[in-house]
Subunit: 421 residues, 2 copies
């Protein structure tokens, strides 16, 4: 007896899930821990940068008007009245034909309005002090980095939801963010179901396989930016599963199970959802792999019933759970980034269903090319190792040939897309 | 007085550094912690996958010879003698015209050599037991996933040095790697030098700026896959710096300082290297920014003297320190991945030096395009925030125009390149 399920299209399925997305929330972490997190607030300039006029080169700070008439044949002589490095402030005010020797990054002394680069001066030590000669006219403001040149106080420099990279770390430090507002990592609860599952440390037994989905999904959860709470493995037994799932849901933001969602005789997730009183958003999607992916909601909390098949599990997570996680990380582009690439393989057989083929996306002379990362039988985990993308082959009545352009979802990318369907 | 330094070309500089690269070493971590690390050994199949013949679909396991003569008009009747799900093993041996109801993933029962998919059968409950009818001939081996079909015991599936992604996590679990051999993270010691530096939590003071380089480099170190040991900030004072540096070097694999390497009056790193007895590999490179980057070695340990200028510091780390880190992470492609992209900006002014321009690499209809990520003054940290790449503009006598092809180093990529110069 095969249960009848009505498949829905991928775009519609994702839309149904996204109706139950949750807002991201903020936590404050030390700047030492903020790399790789997501900003939960705009990064604003808390001061001008630079916040004082400074020398961009090693040289001499002078009054530009005193260089008037300076030339190769008639150098102008300046008295050197001070010597400062970055971080030092001269207490002298520069008068006519006076100069302060100044190093890169130091604050311009009072009275000065130009810097003569070291290479363009000649120094002289005389009995009554230090002097230097300038052989070229300098304009007012020459060789000065002016206050506010790089950023103005109050400016929004990086938007909320952005992945914090090394450059942003530098900006956070520049603006004094000793603690940084980042999106709290959603907690993703995870149970693997299946009587066939052995623990990773167990020796093999007839008919049983080691649980690989939990480790794969845990890594996918981390890659998406969330935190996993792994509850363990469950046998295909209705009561055991029901009690375990019921008890686990409360403490997490998102709940994932692997296995038990198909129409097999020992697939109990549908009944568990029913007994929990959860509303099933869909239990069949017109895609391969992952067609039996089931998503339900219980009091607004999403329950993802991913297939026990590793490929289907992988794809189901990326298509449905990832955008929810990224939304909670304040992203306005929560879905996988979609680009176009040249197909480097033939798929002669037409398939009525849209396929998501685990692929290796590479670059050849500046152009994206994509090849399947392994044989594409849906139970082959090997092809997942080399996958950095999912190639989309729309369902229809014809196959696909090498050289065609296809759409590709990028797995290892922080850019995202707002709505790829 | 300007010290004369002889610049060397970038490729030569990198080569000099790579002569002092260290071997990676192994540590064993729980599979729960291996995502995002680098394999320090080949990942081998410790068993066949699958390790038993199994059903890829829900259906009935039968002897194919018994389906001979089955047709739409003359269905063949089978006695259903058992019922198994994944993880269960039937203790029955299938005899003539007997079948075992079998779910996806379950081990093929003794005597069976084909699976009839559920959809192609008709079931019947009769007084003397359960029966089902098959209306089509099945071949020997039809609908079976055979032992070793996906992987053969002993096969090398993933090579040493590979970044552990979610798919590899699944493979590690499948093959029973409860602990995983990963490359030990190199420890990178870090000191920021500069009298101008304030701590990130400090209010601004005249002439001083907050230390941003340490946070930026720390993030770059983490992105490269290593661990940072941050020792703090040092003023531009020879004795203080010398003692601090001397004391810190011993406990780390790689040592980085920021600032103090230029030819300014308060740049003490060159003298510190001299007093330490370190051999300076180079102290000037024909690139912009980062020309004063200095690398020295002391008893085979590398000391990276990066510029205090944020952009130069950033670029210097990626070009020189990253490949050393990646080598210690067992990669044979330790350098930044290099690709070609279409330039989307004009650089009309020729520059005698090769420039590394902080850039945003994007994709347009399957083609890479690259634009500078900000104004390219070397003291502007703002452009670092949007940078996912460094565009290479070779030095020479002409400028560059929109539409030209340029080479680009990718910063957020695990692929790497073996030798980009």
């Amino acid at each position: 007896m095969v249960e009848r399920r009505t498949p829905i299209q991928i775009g519609e399925a994702v839309k149904k899930v996204m109706e139950y997305k949750l807002e991201g929330s903020t936590e404050f972490v030390s700047i030492n821990d903020s790399y790789g997190r997501f900003l939960s607030d705009d990064l604003k300039a808390t001061s001008d940068v630079p916040h004082f006029d400074r020398a961009p080169y090693d040289g001499y700070a002078v009054r530009s008007e005193d260089t008037r008439g300076a030339a190769q044949t008639s150098p102008v002589k300046f008295e050197v009245i001070d010597h400062i490095g970055a971080g030092m402030v001269s207490d002298k005010t520069i008068g006519p034909f006076q100069a302060v020797r100044i190093m890169t990054g130091a604050q311009m002394p009072e009275g000065s309005d130009a810097v003569v680069m070291l290479e363009l001066t000649k120094e002289a030590e005389e009995a009554d002090g230090k002097f230097m000669f300038v052989k070229r006219v300098h304009q007012k403001g020459e060789n000065i980095s002016f206050r506010g040149e790089d950023a103005k106080e109050g400016e929004v420099l990086v938007k909320k939801g952005t992945f914090i990279n090394p450059g942003i770390q530098a900006m956070l430090a520049t603006f004094g963010y000793a603690t940084v507002p980042v999106a709290r990592k959603p907690i993703v609860g995870l149970y693997a179901t299946g009587t066939e599952l052995l623990e990773v440390g167990d020796p093999l037994e007839p008919g049983k396989i080691r649980n690989s989905n939990s480790y794969m999904i845990s890594a996918q959860v981390q890659r998406a930016g969330a935190e996993v709470r792994y509850f363990g493995q469950l046998p295909d037994d209705f009561e055991t599963c029901y009690e375990a799932v019921r008890a686990a849901i409360g403490g997490v933001d998102i709940f994932i199970t692997t296995g038990g969602v198909s129409v097999g005789d020992f697939d109990y997730l549908p009944q568990i959802y029913e007994k929990l009183g959860a509303e099933v958003l869909f239990n069949k999607v017109a895609v391969r792999p992952g067609s039996v992916t089931t998503v339900a909601q219980l009091h607004g909390k999403l329950l993802f019933g991913l297939s026990g098949n590793p490929s289907a599990c992988y794809v189901g997570f990326e298509l449905f759970a990832r955008p929810i996680i990224r939304t909670m990380l304040c992203s306005d582009k929560p879905h996988l980034r979609k680009e176009r690439a040249r197909l480097e393989a033939d798929f002669p057989k037409a398939n009525p269903f849209t396929r998501f083929v685990r692929s290796a996306l590479t670059i050849q002379d500046g152009k994206l090319i994509v090849t399947p990362s392994g044989l594409d039988k849906s139970n082959i985990i090997m092809s997942l190792a080399g996958a950095n993308s999912l190639m989309i082959l729309p369902g229809g009545t014809r196959g696909f040939e090498r050289g065609m352009k296809v759409e590709v979802l990028m797995l290892e990318d922080q850019t995202g897309s707002d709505w790829p369907w």
